[in-house]
Symmetry: C2
Amino acid sequence: MSQTHDISQTGSWMRDLSGETRWLSINTATTREQWTLAQAIDGIARAGIPGIAPWRDQLEAMGVRQAAQAIRANGLTVTGLCRGGMFTSFDRGGLAQALDDNRRAVDEAAAISAQCLVLVVGGLAPGSRDIAAARAIVRDAIAALLPHARAAGMPLAIEPLHPMYAADRACINTLAQANDLCDALGPGVGVAVDVYHVWWDPGLEREIARAGAAGRILAYHLCDWLVPTRDLLLDRGMMGDGVIDLPRIRGWVEAAGYAGFCEVEIFSKDTWWRRPGDEVLATCIERYRRVC
Amino acid sequence: MSQTHDISQTGSWMRDLSGETRWLSINTATTREQWTLAQAIDGIARAGIPGIAPWRDQLEAMGVRQAAQAIRANGLTVTGLCRGGMFTSFDRGGLAQALDDNRRAVDEAAAISAQCLVLVVGGLAPGSRDIAAARAIVRDAIAALLPHARAAGMPLAIEPLHPMYAADRACINTLAQANDLCDALGPGVGVAVDVYHVWWDPGLEREIARAGAAGRILAYHLCDWLVPTRDLLLDRGMMGDGVIDLPRIRGWVEAAGYAGFCEVEIFSKDTWWRRPGDEVLATCIERYRRVC
């Protein structure tokens, strides 16, 4: 039963999450230190959560076919596969090898019927200080990947990452950049909006509306920004424990036409990775219903 | 003897720093664990560096009058006083007390003949998740501070801080935001461009040109972004040790008309704060001449 209620900050009508879990998805990074993918599939299904987003290393460890079967058997929706990309910061083999690997990622995403392949595009090229050049490489690489993705029917979701990852993970750092890239690349590519990466952006409301108008919001990721944040990578917070105005951003996303899953993705070495997986998921459900 | 040479990346003519230190300034945060302000004044003068930018806590510890006298006696130019601001994230006493404190900061900056008072504007208000509200408070607070600053002849330099500080230090996170704020506030306010905070911004060249066209680049701060960065606050790099394309950004700043000091400001608890102050300054000089 879908309901909406008025969120006074935005004045727009939003889905009411308080009584259900129907749009909740768990990115398996959230329990990656506790659970294998097989355990995560079981645990997520056991918790009554309908969505999952696995990572490729876990998928390969389990076997793509076995994972696809277990996901299907449990009736889970795959809200995304993490991750393709890393077009610039590959270790060796150059761009051609990165593209080969990304084509395999597209195939794996298709094999598990993922709604999109999430792209973390890569930072500066090794030894380079030229971020404009990195951005050009990324544009050209996604263009080169697109024919394969289109043929596979697999949407590519460019995920702008927080500017603190510009050097080593992703040189696409704002939703405006991701939107510009989508405009340039044409059909088959969209964006993943992760509140952790974009919450600070003064242009966020405008760029969410722009992405929504183009029908390109492919995924919506949740966690929270802790104060203080003790680690650049592995100190994300559970929703409600930080300072991100989650209802406001979801209001913008839904006002822009997004009606898909809310995918929880928390890297938390000192807190959530140390607790039992079932407890983590129970907390995700409680917070999803109450503060998101 | 001022010289210029062509920087191929930008095609514009830049000052040649290789043979001198005439535009070098040291922000005393760079040696704050080794030296008191009195020691820093001596050390900077001893190294033949013409500029200094002190912090208020050090200034108050030394005594404003004594510091002003020592700075003058050593012929140093004060490229900025750090810092005013913190309009939203005050501990107690509210905005009125924050404004009183900022007026004192203006007076202290005037007492040491600083070229500007640097504003780190503050993050979210205590208990708040509303960054738009924080930004509105900041705008109104600077407007309220401006009459006193104008009367004192003290330019206010809004320093956009990296988005990773949006929650707890500054909700002005891009040069575009700072430029917009300056447009709204009128004369007496400008910007401090610190490469650490803005290097990742895809709009940087445009916004530097915009700031320069308005004659509002009041300070230019240098350090470097390390990969990996191990601490959000205290792991800045010495110029040349990280990934920022320093000559390119300086080329943009100088093409925009800036002809002032290059102020080195490095918070580095594990590296530069552990070395003798004289060695740190010698390294600053060498890097300023070779990689900035």
